[in-house]
Symmetry: C2
Subunit: 420 residues, 2 copies
């Protein structure tokens, strides 16, 4: 979900920009859409031009190659996993307290347990565990870790009452429920918050929630050589490892569902932990490096689109890989994409699964508006100098329809797990 | 200078914040000024609390110790230099084109040359060289590299006409001139832009200058594993090395003057290059890690002060050192501080120079308002939960008086260089 508040900030910048110093002149955005240089030597005086050129000469070290042999592919997968561990900086902590259950409530057909985990000396990470009545240590079930999107709480994702009315998502609330349908299918669902959101937020519950100040959390983690994603994936993996130790969970059948922001820890954990059985990728797939290169049309005040929140900033990420490479490296483990993207990128994933000998293990769905191939943009290379709206159109994204797509993932899961 | 535009953004955030979702409730900032936890185990559920606790347990590896012996001090200096090289990630480029002069203009008593340097394949970094008439290869002079503050151009700092009327600083313009007084004293002055500002800006010259979009430049450098300071110090050092090769410059007498933002590349170059003779530190000295820990009083919308622009973000910086450590490591080379700070921190620098056997080489001046010790706060440890205004008061900063202080630096330079 796009944060209205953060959006407000951006609009605010522009509005106020116009009052800085003498009122700002305005420009024709199209005229300056592309970042170029008129020097014969091709060099840039503008620092923005310099970094743009540096981005363009960046080729991720672990870019997937469709011509990989199986041995090359396996070696490349291990390289991705090592590189991911390298940039995520997960600390190796010993003697941490075990997570423990702080409450349990019986619901119709399942119970909701609230647990606390302690992945760092100063950290408590609460999470929810939804357990169907029929499930117990004699009758263990597959399990799904559900990671919500930006601005969404674990309570929303679990279909449970919010801890604070301000945490409530936009209606209809059903659009944001992730876990419940799976629980009704007999799966155990473990639901987490994203750092800085919901119960893990600071003062936002009194004021601006469901908009959250992810920036300060991200900034200080970065100052210390870590990152928002490094921290969130570390906390999530800590809980995932707890899941493997629970007798009521079939540890051979643990999957991760990531929605929007939640797809990022999904990719990290998938690359780091080969024991994860499958993945629900509830977002569109894109090349973030390419997006940074082409999304340069300024507004009328000459301000080009700022990439996104620094919660997405992982130093050296693009030097290593991009999203399509990471999901390709998850082959041959079952995965479903619910909101498509460019066939160009999704075909790379298909190819990876083919090389891994399990092409049937990747299922790809597009936004309904683009389900018919003839309605989709079939682009090999995006043009530079576009704005966000044009970008979404070119990569087949129907943004208002960005939500949880259980209608696609439940049947897929029934098939993948051979559920009754 | 505080950027009106960026300030506008912040105000804008708050204003618009109040219209996000249902109008935001407000809180009493004092009530939530400190970041605390009410858990008996002292852990934080709030991610902001977690990172705050992580900051508090961070002790920079190279913290200066007043009880250093001379050998320990020398070893520690080398450690700072190595750590600085490690986090600045300067690329080692071979066969780069030599800088060359693109224009020269005679002024009264000196000439202004404009040069271009090419420190990276896609980069042109223009700089100005001001050469007194009497100076030539037979009669070389000491030289000063002048690095301006945020929003200030090299033309402003050099006392030359702006390339664009929008780049003009606030009046009185004399407040921002760095180089000219030194040139009139017979020094060669080399003046650079900060990346993203003035001639190195993107579209701001058409619109919002002298406010500049440092964010995008910094963000993409960080994505690639670099940083704004890593890039600016690399470009400045490239020019400084050129200075050493010029026959009209006495390479044994090259100094750096940093104003505000410009003090950061000054510190980096000082730690990396032992051949630099001396330093003009035109700002107050502070502990940035401590500032991040204590500056937590939120506004009425529950938003705590965001540290500052990500152009100041250098991953792992605080794991290595803080500003007072770096300037202490410059001993015994001559240095002047023009805008004080806390005696607590400045005494560390004095102690370092004493250990290095050159206590006379450090000169410290405070804002006039605080020149008398009895008017200064003498604080050993700042309280948590303060806002920016309180912070400035506690560290003896008279912000409206933050400007170039040649009245202090010229006499100092005359003494240090034994000028006539």
């Amino acid at each position: 979900m796009i944060s209205k508040w953060i959006l407000g900030v951006f609009v605010g910048c522009m509005a106020l920009g116009s009052f800085a110093q003498s009122p700002a002149d305005t420009i024709d955005p199209r005229k300056y859409a592309r970042i170029t240089t008129d020097r014969v030597d091709g060099r840039y005086v503008s620092s923005r031009g310099v970094v743009h050129a540096m981005l363009k000469r960046t080729t991720p070290e672990y870019t997937f190659r469709p011509d990989f042999t199986q041995p090359e592919f396996k070696q490349w997968q291990q390289g991705i996993s090592r590189a991911m561990a390298d940039i995520m900086h997960h600390p190796s902590m010993e003697g941490l307290p075990e997570p423990h259950c702080i409450s349990s409530e019986q619901k119709e057909g399942y119970r909701v347990e609230k647990w606390e985990s302690y992945p760092l000396p100063e950290t408590v990470v609460p999470f929810l565990v939804l357990i169907p009545d029929k499930v117990n240590e004699k009758n263990p079930a597959p399990a799904l870790m559900c990671i919500p999107g930006s601005g969404e709480t674990k309570e929303t994702a679990a279909g449970q009452p919010e801890l604070n009315p301000r945490f409530q998502e936009d209606e209809p609330y059903e659009r944001w429920i992730i876990a419940l349908p799976y629980v009704k299918k007999g799966l155990v669902a473990v639901v987490v918050d994203n750092p800085g959101a919901g119960e893990a937020s600071d003062l936002e519950g009194h004021t601006i929630a469901p908009d959250y100040q992810y920036e300060a959390v991200s900034r200080y983690l970065l100052e210390l050589g870590w990152s928002y994603l490094g921290y969130s994936s570390y906390c999530d993996l800590h809980i995932l490892n707890w899941m493997k130790r629970q007798s009521f969970i079939n540890k051979e059948r643990i999957l991760i569902s990531g929605f929007s922001l939640g797809t990022e820890p999904l990719m990290v954990m998938g690359a780091l932990d080969q024991s994860i059985y499958g993945f629900i990728f509830n977002d569109f797939l894109c090349r973030t490096l390419e997006r940074a290169i082409v999304l340069t049309e300024p507004n009328k005040y000459g301000v080009r689109p700022f990439p996104n929140s620094i919660r997405h900033l992982i130093p050296r990420f693009w030097c290593k890989f991009d999203f399509p490479d990471i999901v390709a490296s998850l082959a041959p483990r079952p995965i479903i994409f619910t909101e498509g993207g460019l066939d160009r990128d999704l075909n790379l994933v298909r190819k990876a699964y083919e090389i891994a000998g399990k092409k049937e293990n990747v299922s790809i769905y597009f936004y309904p508006k683009f389900s018919n191939p003839k309605d989709r943009q079939m682009i090999e290379r995006l043009p530079e100098g576009i704005n966000r709206k044009t970008y979404f159109n070119l990569v087949n994204v129907d943004d208002p329809m960005h939500d949880i797509k259980s209608n696609l993932t439940i049947p897929w899961l029934v098939k993948v797990l051979d559920l009754k």
